[in-house]
Symmetry: D2
Amino acid sequence: MGLTIGVDIGGTKIAAGVVDEEGTILEKHTVPTPPTADAIVEAICAAVTAAGKGHDIEAVGIGAAGYVDDKRATVLFAPNINWRHEPLKDKVEQRVGLPVVVENDANAAAWGEYRFGAGQGHDDVICITLGTGLGGGIIIGNKLRRGRFGVAAEFGHIRVVPDGLLCGCGSQGCWEQYASGRALVRYARQRAMATPENAEILLALGDGTPEGIEGKHISAAAREGDKVAVDSFRELARWAGAGLADLASLFDPSAFIVGGGVSDEGELVLDPIRKSFRRWLIGAQWRPHAQVLAAQLGGKAGLVGAADLARQG
Amino acid sequence: MGLTIGVDIGGTKIAAGVVDEEGTILEKHTVPTPPTADAIVEAICAAVTAAGKGHDIEAVGIGAAGYVDDKRATVLFAPNINWRHEPLKDKVEQRVGLPVVVENDANAAAWGEYRFGAGQGHDDVICITLGTGLGGGIIIGNKLRRGRFGVAAEFGHIRVVPDGLLCGCGSQGCWEQYASGRALVRYARQRAMATPENAEILLALGDGTPEGIEGKHISAAAREGDKVAVDSFRELARWAGAGLADLASLFDPSAFIVGGGVSDEGELVLDPIRKSFRRWLIGAQWRPHAQVLAAQLGGKAGLVGAADLARQG
Amino acid sequence: MGLTIGVDIGGTKIAAGVVDEEGTILEKHTVPTPPTADAIVEAICAAVTAAGKGHDIEAVGIGAAGYVDDKRATVLFAPNINWRHEPLKDKVEQRVGLPVVVENDANAAAWGEYRFGAGQGHDDVICITLGTGLGGGIIIGNKLRRGRFGVAAEFGHIRVVPDGLLCGCGSQGCWEQYASGRALVRYARQRAMATPENAEILLALGDGTPEGIEGKHISAAAREGDKVAVDSFRELARWAGAGLADLASLFDPSAFIVGGGVSDEGELVLDPIRKSFRRWLIGAQWRPHAQVLAAQLGGKAGLVGAADLARQG
Amino acid sequence: MGLTIGVDIGGTKIAAGVVDEEGTILEKHTVPTPPTADAIVEAICAAVTAAGKGHDIEAVGIGAAGYVDDKRATVLFAPNINWRHEPLKDKVEQRVGLPVVVENDANAAAWGEYRFGAGQGHDDVICITLGTGLGGGIIIGNKLRRGRFGVAAEFGHIRVVPDGLLCGCGSQGCWEQYASGRALVRYARQRAMATPENAEILLALGDGTPEGIEGKHISAAAREGDKVAVDSFRELARWAGAGLADLASLFDPSAFIVGGGVSDEGELVLDPIRKSFRRWLIGAQWRPHAQVLAAQLGGKAGLVGAADLARQG
């Protein structure tokens, strides 16, 4: 017994997956992401209905980028979709006839890793997701901690550089400006501009100009030993590790899980993050150290986590 | 039924207080703080025994500066006392014959405020203590959150300035170097040095030199409108509020409680902290805002909190 | 004897003025700034010819934004015009039949102020121009110091915040991102967003939104005491003054001259700059302090300075 | 014709050397540095008299740490000696009966390198001295530039990190806190504390503890490939090179000369400084780049430079 559907809303497609109690995706249905806020609600419902056909579904969990309220019902604000105080739970429940739980997508991914991925066996886990930006989730005492108003774990927006880089959130110096896929690309472009002779492999993978460098080029070039690419990963890791050290001072978890597209590079990025974490960890000689683990579920963590959160009710 | 003893270990004296279920201190006994680590253990036991005489005591809670392990038994490291992996719980239990709980002192104070002070009625509270340094405690879901290994909530040591001021912890740029009583004195001395004509009241309260400025002078001068004193509080508040905004991004509590000696100045410091908090709060227009409250228990928060934690077992 | 023509190349118009030995503009001719690099050269020549008609002109001085080589002949790079290694001196000399000197526009303005404005009587002067960006010029020993290769005095691009704001130059944390007209607008918008109740006058001057705030609104609102506007000028002054303190450590001039559009506000911005300068000046008690003076020539400093530099040959 | 004496005042000894027009030291006399301000004046005179015996001396140049006034006569402030407005020129002239010129020691060393060392053939040179702290000198147009009041070229005290490390000067974030021998030791100790397994060679050279690490150990360990030692030099070079890039934006010299004890390591430190300089140089593709050269005169640059400045009168 006990199938639920998890929904992942991406920039180009919306995926709805039927997930069992072990976190296995039995069936998945995707639809293109439409351009307007209302149409996205329709598309979510369509994907859920299509995926659930022929299954006995108990509930639906939706992972959405942005602020979700403490009732897990309303999207207060979404950065990429024009949702403002959007009653997503009610709308979807009415159309699909199933109980719906809405969750911040990074929270959902954190929960997925905690339940079925790298976090298994840990009671207190902090996940960070290094994607285009930087998100994350907090598990303390085996529960997802969402904050009093539902908007906790916005890791990407703690200020790590006073008067630092402008962030899309309107503030300056946010962590995600220094530790994210977007930051990685910036590091590589700046370095390739300053020292092109150290970026020959990297530049050859794109159009030959610093501006033409994209994330995938940096990964490929780093694996071939391109100096600028390797240094760019190190710079990212320097900031990621220092931030994890701050989170250790605050949360003292037994494990950090590093997910998101950037972490797909595995030890290329995990190893320098661990070193930086250890470099900056306060009181390192007097305390047990949290492990820094690679996420295991990849891109499906959010969908699986959302489905499992729906199951928990 | 249900008296417990709370112990507060200060730099000059150790206080043991008998506390009832309402958080009232029925009786308090203090002894001078001896110079050596072993003698301090003895002094704690003596204070507990003296305070408990004639009362029916169930348990003892000790608040200690430093890292306390997850079993609330061992002081892993104390910054001011030469305790390293000190089995304080066992030692005191053996001598006083009562169950003992050891807790980080800032955690104990946070718990005191949550139970009997400004935090009453809130489920999710973050306390910060602006004393000589900066400490704090985390209450989520009505429980004190100590981290997996007992050393969470070391707020004072998150890095707010990369390559910033040296900290006693060995790292650089720690929050407590910018938001604490010690920071306040530094701000005032630097400003009085640069613009003595704006610090006439302040300088007159000390020995006339910038080096002679102490914390109490700054408070007194600020109340009289001394420009340097007022600006020094604002600078402190600027950093305190910006840090609270970060903690809101992470924990999203319903209230922050600001305690410690610096907060004794009340609105003189609370008001600019609130403004700075609001200035830097991310997504301010899309989320409910945490309240920023003054602590209510003053210097007894730690003792009362430790006693109550001992009662909870 | 001795009339020369100074040329000022603005974003919307090009001005050529006939200037005498006292720095007086006898006649001025302006033409619209055309869109292409070649057409701008033509327009310069046309303006010079028109202005010079009926005068006995000895030489022409052209102030151009960007890098000008050490021979004062070639524009190596212009940020706003597509000039790259542009032989401007040769081109204009061929067409107007007069000796031509090309100079960086901020250098020209500095020279103008030194010769005929606030810098008269000083041998060692540093000028900064707070316009949209931040430029400046160096006079040491009564000579304009251009550097070995002609590109000295790029004050706006010294790094004042490591890992700070992105700059148009490709680097991060450049001074002009913190002390310039553009920075002033950013400060006002951020503050008006965070605390609109403190920006009522300011917001009413624009379209009512933070994004609608422009520089002229901030000046007007500050004069009426609008808190956000005043605080925005203070923030700008904080950075401007701290940078001047650095320049004092390096150059130790007898005077700083602050020009550019932002400085048109006079004491509203000069007074806090002086205070910040004094706050950050190193060794303040052991050294004579440079004066911080308002520029006197306003927008014509560059034209007059260029003309005078042409006269000097 | 034309022998002069140069004087170098060190922490442990005072050296007076007879120098000819080619910058060759013909004879040198040293005396221990006495503890009091007056005694140091006596010792200088004694050393000069002893060194000059049997030579036909024209003048004496004294290099002194601290602020020297624009008349090159009075030490306004010395950081290590209790000289405050000390009329050193008059006192020494009276006793030795020769014309005396007083100069800031880093200025003297810069002049020495310009005249007889790495700066020969350059008209515009910036020297930085990476010793315990960071000093330097400015040569523009073949003249030493001392500022209007004599206190220019205090490179070590420009602010490179807002709210950064405390400096002995009373300010924060000064360049010399990040690029100097003292900074190098701090880097090595911090890293050896965090990752002792990467500092085995380094730790073995001292007493085995991070606190026991000294500058000479870092040099020796770096030459053997010790990771912490190499990384510490890189960190120093990162800050040194970024600062040189700022100086290039300001002064645009044809060469930088890097001297001082740290630079004795040669390419070990010069090579990463050059890379960092290039990484941060603004407008790098549009301008000729200054060379970054190793100083050639070592510890005698100050004495030789002071002697030569005395010759120039």
